[in-house]
C-alpha cells in the first residue's frame, strides 16, 4: 500500500508483514489518499470478477486422489444462484447419488468463489482423505456446482454418510478471493440448522490457515464428531489447544447468514 502522506512517518512499517489490513494509509484531510483509494477500488473490481468465475471440473477431477461425482444444484446459472440461495441448497432432480454405505463424505463446492476451490480444493480434500483413511470409510468425492453449504446435507444423506465435510469457496473479500471454508455436519439431512455445523474459515495459501493445517483441523473435528455423535455449538473446537500450534484457527458460523 502506498504511503502517501509524506508528513507522517510510517509507524506501521514494522507490522506490514503480519497483517494485510489496510493500516497506516495516511490522509488527505479526513479522507484516504488517492493511491490508497484507487487500490481499494481495484481490489473490489477483482473480487467482483471472482464472484462470477466458474469451476473447471475436469481439471479439478484430475487433481483429486480418487474418483469424483459431479452434481449441480437447482440454480440454473450464476444469476439465479446469487438471487435465490434456496436453489443452491437443493440438488437438481437430475442428480441422484446412491447410498455408498461409508462413513464420511467430502464435497468440493464452488460457493461464492470457484477460484478458491479451483486453487486449493483438491489439496485440502486429498490431505483430509489421507489423514482419515485409516479410521474412516470414505465415499467418492463429490464436486458440486452452483452450490451453497446446505447442499452437502442432501448429498451426505443420499450417500448415507455419518458426517459430511463441505469445502466451499467463501465470499471473496478485497484482500483474498481464494479463501476456502469447511463446514462439518453430523448425520447430514435436509433441514439441518447452521448451529448444527462446525466451521473452519479462511483456509488459503498464502495469507490464511495453511491447507495442511486446515485439513488437520477438519480431521480433528470429524473425529470429535464421532466421539460426541454431534456437530455444532455442542462441539467446541479445541484443535489449537491440543496441537498448540500458532496460527491455527477455526471459526463458528456466528454472524447472520451463511459464512460462504
Amino acid at each position: 500500500m502506498a504511503h502517501e502522506n509524506s508528513k507522517t512517518p510510517d509507524f506501521f512499517a514494522r507490522w506490514r508483514d503480519v497483517t494485510s489490513a489496510r493500516i497506516g494509509l495516511g490522509r488527505a484531510g479526513q479522507a484516504m489518499p488517492t493511491g490508497a483509494m484507487l487500490d481499494f477500488l481495484l481490489s473490489h473490481a477483482r473480487a467482483r470478477d471472482a464472484v462470477h468465475s466458474a469451476l473447471d471440473v475436469e481439471k479439478l477431477k484430475a487433481e483429486l486422489d480418487g474418483p469424483a461425482h459431479h452434481v449441480f444444484s437447482r440454480a440454473c446459472d450464476r444469476a439465479a444462484f446469487l438471487q435465490n440461495p434456496t436453489s443452491g441448497r437443493k440438488l437438481s432432480p437430475d442428480c441422484v447419488l446412491g447410498n455408498e454405505r461409508k462413513e464420511l463424505a467430502i464435497v468440493l463446492a464452488d460457493g461464492l468463489s470457484a477460484t478458491a476451490i479451483q486453487d486449493h480444493g483438491a489439496k485440502i480434500a486429498n490431505a483430509l482423505k489421507a489423514q482419515l483413511s485409516d479410521k474412516w470409510t470414505i465415499c467418492d468425492f463429490v464436486i458440486a456446482e452452483q452450490s451453497r453449504v446446505a447442499l452437502g446435507d442432501e448429498i451426505g444423506e443420499q450417500l448415507g454418510a455419518d458426517v459430511v465435510v463441505v469445502l466451499i469457496g467463501e465470499r471473496p473479500g478485497l484482500s483474498a478471493a481464494d479463501s476456502v471454508g469447511a463446514y462439518i455436519t453430523w448425520k447430514p439431512k435436509s433441514g439441518r440448522a447452521d448451529s448444527e455445523r462446525n466451521c473452519i474459515s479462511n483456509i488459503r495459501e498464502p495469507g490464511g490457515l495453511s491447507l495442511e493445517l486446515g485439513a488437520a483441523n477438519i480431521a480433528w473435528i470429524v473425529n470429535r464428531a464421532k466421539e460426541l455423535s454431534l456437530t455444532g455449538v455442542g462441539l467446541k473446537d479445541r484443535f489449537a489447544d491440543e496441537v498448540a500450534l500458532k496460527g491455527a484457527s477455526s471459526a463458528p458460523n456466528q454472524i447472520t447468514g451463511e459464512g460462504e
Binding site: 489490513a21 464472484v51 455444532g232 447472520t256
Partner: protein, 465 residues
C-alpha cells in the same frame, strides 16, 4: 380475524392477515420476494399502505403476526407491553402516528415516554409509511444514551466500534489495526474483535490483549470478543476480562434456535457478565448484532417480511438493556438486500425502528462483493445515518475487513462524517484524545502525529502488545 381491503380505481385489494398487510406495504426488496411475501405490483404495495395508514395502532395489541403459543419472542412482546405508556397514542391510526412523530409538538421527551409501549409491529408499520427523510427526522428526535466507561449516543456525538479483525487472530496483526484506529480517533463505542476461531482459550487471549492496551494507555473504552454467548459464559467462569457479552439475535424463536440461543440463555449470559461488575456506570453489558434477512436465512420467518422481523429483534434486545446494538445491514448479501438502494433504505429503517423503541442503535454500513453496491452507496448511507444521529458506526482499517471478507466503513469515513456534520467522539474519549495529543483544538486529528505524546503512546502500546 379481520380482513384488510381497499379499492383503487375499481380494483379490490385484499390482505388476509396483518402479517400479509405489513409485508405487502414494505418497500421492495429481494428478501421479501424470495420469501414470496412481497407485493406483486407497485399499486398493490400502495393499496397496502393506504389500508395500513387507516389502521388503529390498537389493532397491533389485539392481532399478533406470529401466534403467542408458537413463539417466545411474541410472548415477550405481549407480556411486556406497557399499557400506561401507550395511552397518549392509543387512539391514533398508523398514518396519524407518523404525523404525531413528525409533529413539532412532539418532543424527544414525549417520544421517550411512549417508547416502552411501541411494539415492533407498530414501529415496522409506521416505518413502511415513512420516506427516508421521515426516518432520519424522527430518529434524530429519539436519542438513546447508554454509559459504560464512555457515554455513547449523545446528540452531537458519533462513536466508533474499532474492529481490528485478523484472519488467523494474530495478536500482532490485531494490535496493529487497533493502533491505527486509535491514532485516527476510533474506538470510543468499543474495541470489538470478531475472532476467526471459536476456541474459548483464544477468545480469552484476545480479551487480555485489548485489556492490556486499554489499561496501559488508560483508554476510556470497553472491549468485546464476538464469540457465541455460551463461550462468553465460559470466559466469565474463567474470570476473563469480559466487558460486554455479544450475541447475534433474530426476531423469532425458531431463528434464534438457529443461532443456538433462546431468551433464557441471553439472560444467563447477561447475569454472568454482570457478576464481573466491570461497568462502572450502569447495568448495560450486552452487545447485540442483528440484520434484516436472518430469519428467512434460517427458514424461520413465519411468512412475515424481513423489516418487521428485524424490528422484533429490537424487542429482544431492549429486554436485556444493551449498551450497543448493531444492525449489520449489508452483510447478509444480495438475496436479502439486492443493491445500494435497498441497503440504504434498510439501514435507515433499522436505525429508526431501534431508536423509536428505545434501543441504542449503531449501524455497520456495509456490503459484500456479490451485492450490487459500492463505496459511493456507503458514503450516502453513513452521511444519512450521521444526520439521523446514529450512536456508532464501524471503524475498519481502510474499510476492508480481512477476516469477515466484506466492506465496512473506515476510520477515515468516521472522521469525514464527524467533520462534515460537526460531530464529536464520546466525551470521555474526546478528552483522552486531546490529552494524548491525538486531537487538536479544532476537533481534528493532527496532520503530523509526531508529537512526543503520540510517540510515547505508540512505544508503550507496542511494548504492551
Amino acid at each position: 380475524m379481520t380482513v384488510y381491503r381497499t379499492d383503487i380505481a375499481g380494483t379490490r385489494y385484499q390482505f388476509d392477515t396483518l402479517g400479509a398487510l405489513l409485508a405487502k406495504a414494505s418497500p421492495a426488496r429481494s428478501g421479501d420476494q424470495l420469501a414470496g411475501v412481497a407485493a406483486e405490483s407497485d399499486i398493490e404495495r400502495m393499496a397496502a399502505r393506504f389500508v395500513l395508514a387507516d389502521l388503529p395502532l390498537s389493532v397491533f395489541t389485539e392481532e399478533l403476526v406470529i401466534p403467542y403459543e408458537d413463539d417466545e419472542v411474541t410472548r415477550l412482546i405481549v407480556d411486556t407491553f406497557d399499557e400506561t405508556a401507550f395511552k397518549p397514542i392509543s387512539s391514533l391510526t398508523v398514518g396519524e402516528f407518523r404525523e404525531w412523530l413528525l409533529s413539532n409538538e412532539t418532543s424527544p421527551e414525549k417520544i421517550r415516554a411512549v417508547a416502552p409501549a411501541i411494539t415492533p409491529e407498530m414501529a415496522a408499520a409506521v416505518c413502511k409509511l415513512m420516506r427516508n427523510q421521515d426516518l432520519i427526522a424522527v430518529a434524530k428526535k429519539c436519542p438513546v444514551v447508554k454509559t459504560f466507561r464512555t457515554t455513547v449516543g449523545l446528540p452531537g456525538h458519533l462513536s466508533v466500534r474499532l474492529q481490528p479483525n485478523h484472519p488467523t487472530d494474530d495478536p500482532e496483526g490485531i494490535a496493529a489495526s487497533m493502533l491505527d484506529g486509535l491514532l485516527l480517533a476510533s474506538g470510543d463505542a468499543m474495541i470489538g474483535i470478531n475472532p476467526a476461531s471459536d476456541n474459548v482459550t483464544r477468545a480469552g487471549e484476545l480479551l487480555d490483549l485489548i485489556e492490556r492496551a486499554r489499561l496501559s494507555l488508560n483508554i476510556p473504552t470497553q472491549s468485546c470478543v464476538l464469540t457465541h454467548i455460551t463461550n462468553t459464559i465460559e470466559l466469565v467462569e474463567k474470570k476473563a476480562p469480559v466487558d460486554l457479552a455479544f450475541q447475534s439475535i433474530a426476531g423469532t424463536e425458531a431463528a434464534n434456535k438457529g443461532f443456538g440461543i433462546d431468551l433464557s440463555i441471553l439472560k444467563e449470559g447477561r447475569e454472568a457478565t454482570l457478576s464481573l461488575n466491570r461497568n462502572p456506570t450502569s447495568d448495560s453489558v450486552m452487545y447485540f448484532e442483528t440484520g434484516q434477512g436472518a430469519e428467512l436465512s434460517a427458514d424461520a420467518h413465519h411468512g412475515i417480511d424481513q423489516q418487521t422481523l428485524e424490528a422484533r429483534c429490537y424487542a429482544v434486545a431492549r429486554a436485556f438493556d444493551p449498551f450497543l446494538v448493531n444492525t449489520v445491514v449489508g452483510f447478509i448479501g444480495p438475496e436479502y438486500l439486492y443493491d445500494g438502494k435497498q441497503i440504504i433504505r434498510a439501514g435507515l429503517e433499522d436505525h429508526f425502528c431501534g431508536k423509536l423503541m428505545g434501543v441504542p442503535m449503531g449501524v455497520d454500513v456495509c456490503y459484500t462483493n456479490h451485492a450490487e453496491a459500492d463505496q459511493d452507496d456507503m458514503d450516502v448511507l453513513i452521511t444519512l445515518l450521521g444526520t439521523a444521529g446514529v450512536n456508532f458506526v464501524m471503524g475498519v482499517p481502510g474499510a476492508d475487513d480481512i477476516m469477515l471478507n466484506y466492506q465496512s466503513t473506515s476510520f477515515h469515513d468516521a472522521l469525514y462524517v464527524r467533520e462534515v456534520l460537526g460531530l464529536r467522539p464520546a466525551p470521555e474519549f474526546d478528552e483522552w484524545l486531546a490529552n494524548v495529543g491525538l486531537m487538536g483544538l479544532d476537533g481534528r486529528v493532527p496532520d503530523v502525529i509526531g508529537s512526543g505524546a503520540a510517540r510515547a503512546l505508540i512505544g508503550r502500546y507496542a511494548d504492551g502488545a
